[in-house]
């Protein structure tokens, strides 16, 4: 399905926000200003945006340790996220969560997750809730090729099939689970989707660096799941531009690999090329988005740096609602 110019421009903006957010963080983390562990999503933007473009706030997603892209695509506030990563009490999670635990239930984002594979059962629960409500809403578990080896993911897939939960398991295969290659760690022959299929689900596969392939695939997946056919799974082949965590020396990469994937498999570059070649959008309007997004992210960083710091008293808040 061909998107309108406005929708394409908006999708581009979302992808670009994620890219710039991550590129900025990469630089800032190198300066030592940000505490903790950060896992960047750059390279995979077409998946987060191509999936979340189909969702509204009543559709839920559950994300991973590499969750900034999913949060941004689902509608979490850019500045709130930046402040959270800076550890400010003005952050989306008041500085309690940090990069790995960003959540905003108001937009249907039920949490990034520091435990690989932990999200899938939670998504099944959210899907069961949607099933009770009967309004055609879905819950999506984003998982990587690492999480596809966790028992929780298997349990969740089976339970979703058994209970006919409107859950969608989106596997982003970026070829690395932390520092280990997909070809080593995934026993199924070069394929995650076939595992999901073996659990009794209908599955799809697509190039995760091709926005329109992701978007079109998700149209089909969502139509199927929203119609009450039970869960589904989709595997997107994608690329991770940075290391497992910031500071990862990436000695496991092939020589020239990053240059190659940035040249050949950059989803944003490919998007630009395809929409300009098809004369759907022109370079000038995309450049304008680039400039606007760069300013937005720069401003978010400035705001995060200046934002109020939490105090020792804040440690005790929000363990319980009422204790």
């Amino acid at each position: 399905m061909q998107l309108s110019r406005e929708d394409l421009l908006e999708a581009y903006r979302r992808m670009k926000i994620i890219r710039d957010f991550e590129e900025f963080l990469h630089d800032e983390i190198a300066k030592g200003e940000i505490a903790g562990f950060t896992h960047l999503y750059a390279g995979q933007e077409a998946v987060a945006v191509g999936v979340c473009d189909h969702l509204d706030a009543d559709d839920k997603i559950v994300s991973t340790h590499r969750g900034h892209g999913h949060c941004l695509a689902k509608g979490c506030d850019v500045e709130g996220m930046m402040k959270e990563i800076w550890g400010s009490r003005e952050g989306l999670c008041k500085g309690k969560g940090g990069s790995m635990h960003i959540a905003d239930a108001d937009v249907g984002m039920l949490g990034a997750n520091g435990i690989v594979g932990a999200g899938a059962p939670i998504a099944v629960g959210a899907a069961l809730s949607a099933k009770i409500d009967g309004k055609g809403k879905v819950a999506i578990a984003f998982s990587g090729d690492g999480a596809c080896n966790q028992g929780t993911t298997f349990e969740a897939m089976n339970m979703a099939v058994v209970t006919k939960a409107p859950a969608i398991f989106v596997f982003e295969n970026n070829h690395y689970s932390e520092h280990t290659g997909f070809e080593y760690a995934v026993g199924t022959d070069k394929d995650i989707a076939s595992r999901a299929e073996a659990f009794g689900m209908k599955v799809w596969r697509a190039d995760g660096t091709d926005f329109s392939a992701v978007h079109d695939t998700m149209s089909e997946v969502l139509e199927y799941v929203r119609a009450g056919n039970g869960p589904a799974a989709v595997e997107f082949d994608t690329e991770r531009f940075y290391g497992h965590f910031e500071g990862d020396p990436q000695r496991y990469r092939a020589k020239g690999e990053i240059d190659r994937i940035r040249a050949e498999r950059d989803c944003i570059k490919k998007f630009r090329e395809s929409v300009t070649e098809a004369k759907l959008l022109d370079g000038a309007e995309l450049d304008k988005v680039d400039a606007e997004v760069a300013t937005q992210i720069e401003n978010a960083v400035v705001a995060a740096r200046a934002a109020e710091r939490p105090t020792a008293e804040d440690v005790l808040a929000d363990v319980y609602i009422d204790y």
Binding site: E84, K96, G111, N113, V124, A126, L128, N158, I321
Partner: protein, 337 residues
Amino acid sequence: MAKKMYREAVRDTIFQEMQRDPSVVVLGEDVVGGMGTAGGPEAIGGIWSTSGGLYDEFGGDRVIDTPISESAIVGAAGGLALAGKRPIAELMFADFIGVSLDQIWNQIAKFRYMFGGKTKCPAIIRLIYGAGYNAAAQHSQSPHGIMTGMPGLKVVMPATPADVAGLLRQAIRDDDPVIFMEHKALYGMKGEVPDDPDFTIPFGHARLTRAGQDVTILATGMMVGMAERAADKLAEDGIGADVIDLRTTSPLDEEAILDSVEVTGRLVIVDEAPPRCGLATDLSALVANKAFASLKAPIEMVTAPHTPVPFARELESAYLPNPDKIEAAVRKALAYN
């Protein structure tokens, strides 16, 4: 008031709350039972008979019979709760927390704090716990100490049918995640249960079941009845004991404990779990820290030994606290000058 068994109080409270609030959902292994069999749904109604009739009344969307997948059960409860439901998940045996611990410890207990206080997770995880069935090391444990040590969880340990009703209803209406611990050896216990469909017992309020001036005995779950029997025997010799049923270990009614110890000066703590880093040591530290000057004798702890739960009848009996052990501990505390 109606006379009910402990297990009936569980089932009836869930039933009433599901009628009252459409967001209440039940899930777990065999909570319906018989799914996919010739016997059909409701062939079991939960192996503890705590969910009979729920499926027939409320249907499969709200009474969700799950595969044997404890991580997915607890995780799904977390997801249901984040999405606005009030799930009651059953772990058939508390010992199965081992396979689902991440979802309890790293997920539901932490959502609210980790997400900056903007979400709530009103999930209940029912843990059927405790020894007394000769079910051996993997089906008899009392992991309340582990649960109590996790910030973000509330931990409830009812000792009577009335407390089951009041505390479970409170748990269902509570907006925080609750570990609701039902002692399997108490399921057949009968007692008066208030008929009031809004009968709740607030968390963090201990129950004084015997009153006396000479010693304080703290207990939970099945240990409460044992402590009462010991106290009744001691009363025959003119020894008066406060028996305090903590009801909830998180939140903990510190005031009730400290007030009693300040009067009696002697404390016996009864706990079904092993002694190290557990509820008994925790309570002991509390009293040593906050009521040291009131103590007239060392704190006595009657606990299971630092071993797994054994199988054979003789071994399990030797493992568990009992009224004789509690009585001996009280006499030891009283003999100290």
